[in-house]
Amino acid sequence: MRFNIPIGPQHPALKEPISLRMTVEGEVIRDADLRLGYNHRGLEKLAEQKTWVQNIYLTERICGICSHSHTTCYVQGVEKLMEIVPPKRGLYIRTLVAELERIHSHLLWLGVAGHEAGFDSFFMYTWRDREVVMDLLEMISGNRVHYAINTLGGVRRDLDEGQIKKILDGLVVLKERSVYYARIGTTEPSFVARLAGVGYLSKEKAMALCAVGPTTRASGVARDVRKDDPYAAYEDTSFEVATADTCDVLGRTVVRIKELLSSYQISEFLVRNLPAGDIAVRAPKRAKPNEVLSRYEAPRGENTHYIKSNGSDKPERLKVRAPTLANYAATIEMLKNGFIADIPLIFAAIDPCVCCAERTVELVNGRTGEEKTVRFAELRALAAERHKQLSTKRNAVWPL
C-alpha cells in the first residue's frame, strides 16, 4: 500500500520549515520530493538597498548557527572590492571565532543527531558541554549567537591575556569531552544501529549531485575550502582534511568528530601564536565597480558569495549560496529506499539550516484529497469561522 506522508513544513524533526513529501510503502520510502520557500525573506533583494556596513549584519542573519561564516564570506569579499587588507591580528581573531563556531555547530549537530535518534541523554550532555564554547564566544564577542565580530577591514574586538587563558582552559575541557562523546557515539549499540548503513550516498552520486561539506567528505571526497583555497589565517595553520569512506550517517558523524578535534588544534595554535598589532583598518564608504567571488568553509560545507559593486555605497548584487541548498539534491537521493524511521537522521545528517519565516500553509482537504495553499490571513478567518460554530462560546477575546 502506497501513501503520502508529509514531513513539514511543520514537523518535530524539523527545526525550520521545509516540506518533504514522502511516498511510502509500508515503512519504506519509495519517493521523496522537496519544496522550499517557506522562509524566503528576499534577502538578496534587500541587500541591494542597504549599505556595505549594514549588509554585514544582514548577512549575519542569514543563519543563526553559522552567523560568522556568512559575515566572513561577505566581509572578505567586500575587502577585496575595497582593496583593503586587514591586519594579521584581525585575521587571526576572525579565524579563531570561525573555528570556535565550527566547534559549537558540530557539538550542536551531535546533540541533534542524538535527539533525532531518540537518544535524549546524549543530546542533553553534548549540549551541556557546548555551553563552554558558547560562553567563550560570548566572552569574545559580546553575544552568544550573533557574534558580529567582523567589520570591514578586520574585527571589532581584541583579545586580552585573561581571555586567552580562559579560551585555552575551555579548549582543554572541550577536547576531553569530545573524545568521550566520540567514544559513546560510536560504541552505544542502539545508537550505532541507527547510524550505520543509513543514508547511503556513494562517492559518484555525491560528486554528481554536487554535495558539500561533511556530506561529501563522509563519501570519501577530500574537499575543504580551508585547504584548497585558504582564506583568513588558514594559510598559517596545518590540519588534516577529515574524511570517511563509509558513505553513511555514521561516517558523517565520524567526520564531524574528527573536524572537532582538528578545530581544537587550530584554535589552540591561533591563540598561542596571536600576532601583535592592530585588529582593523579603516574601510572606505564606497567600493569601485568590480566583482568578486568569495568562498568559505562553513561548518555545513562550502559557502559562496558573489558580490558585484557599482561604485556606490551599496552592492549591485549579492548572491548567497548557503551550503544546505547544495545538499538538498543529495538528501533526496539518500532518502530513497530508506525507512521512515531514518528520515530525521538522514535529513539531520546534512545539518540542514533552513531558517524561519512563516508565509503560507498547505491545507489538505481530508475528504477530497485536494490541496490548496492558504495565506495566514485566510487561515485566521477560517479559524474564526470555526470558532463561531463551536457550541460552547468562549468569552475570552484573544488580544491580537
Binding site: Y57, N143, R156, V192
Partner: protein, 147 residues
C-alpha cells in the same frame, strides 16, 4: 560495541547538582562587554547622525525639533534593535561614546510601544582646546523613561 556505555556517566550525575539554571528565579551573569540595550548620553551627542545611517535595523530615529536651538530628538526602537552595537562603533565621540550599550537583556514587554526610548536634548558642541568635562561615572538614566 559496549552495552550501556553511558551508564557510569549517568549514575555519576544522579546525585550531583543540576547543571541547568532555574532561569527566571536565578540569573546568570553576563560577561563584561556583553551587548545589551543601546542608550544615548545626550549631553555628549553632537548629532552627526552616523548611528542612524549605519544602523542595519533602522532602529534609530533622529529628528531636528528646533533649527535655531539645535534641539534634537532621538528615539531608539528597541523592538527593532538587533543588538549589533554598530551604533557604538560608528559614534565619533571619544573617549566616552555618546551612543553606548549596556548589559540589560531582559527587554520583553507586553506592548511594543513600551520598548521605545526617547531623548530630547540640545546638540553638544565639541570643544577642541579644553579637555572634556568629566563625564558622569554613573549610568545616565534615560531622560524620558515614559513614552
Amino acid at each position: 560495541m559496549r552495552v550501556a556505555a553511558f551508564l557510569p556517566e549517568l549514575l555519576r550525575h544522579l546525585f550531583k547538582k543540576p547543571n541547568t539554571v532555574d532561569y527566571p528565579f536565578k540569573k546568570l551573569e553576563v560577561p563584561p562587554g556583553f551587548r545589551g540595550t543601546p542608550f544615548l548620553r545626550p549631553e555628549l551627542c553632537i548629532a552627526c547622525r552616523a548611528c542612524e545611517r549605519d544602523c542595519p535595523a533602522e532602529a534609530i530615529e533622529m529628528t531636528l525639533l528646533d533649527e535655531a536651538e539645535k534641539k534634537w530628538k532621538m528615539i531608539i526602537h528597541n523592538d527593532r534593535c538587533v543588538h549589533c552595537a554598530q551604533c557604538v562603533d560608528s559614534c565619533p565621540v571619544s573617549p566616552i561614546k555618546a551612543m553606548d550599550i549596556d548589559e540589560r537583556y531582559e527587554l520583553a514587554d507586553f506592548d511594543r510601544h513600551n520598548l521605545k526610548r526617547e531623548w530630547v536634548y540640545l546638540r553638544a558642541v565639541l570643544k577642541k582646546a579644553e579637555p572634556k568635562p568629566a563625564p558622569p561615572k554613573t549610568e545616565p538614566k534615560p531622560q524620558t523613561g515614559q513614552v
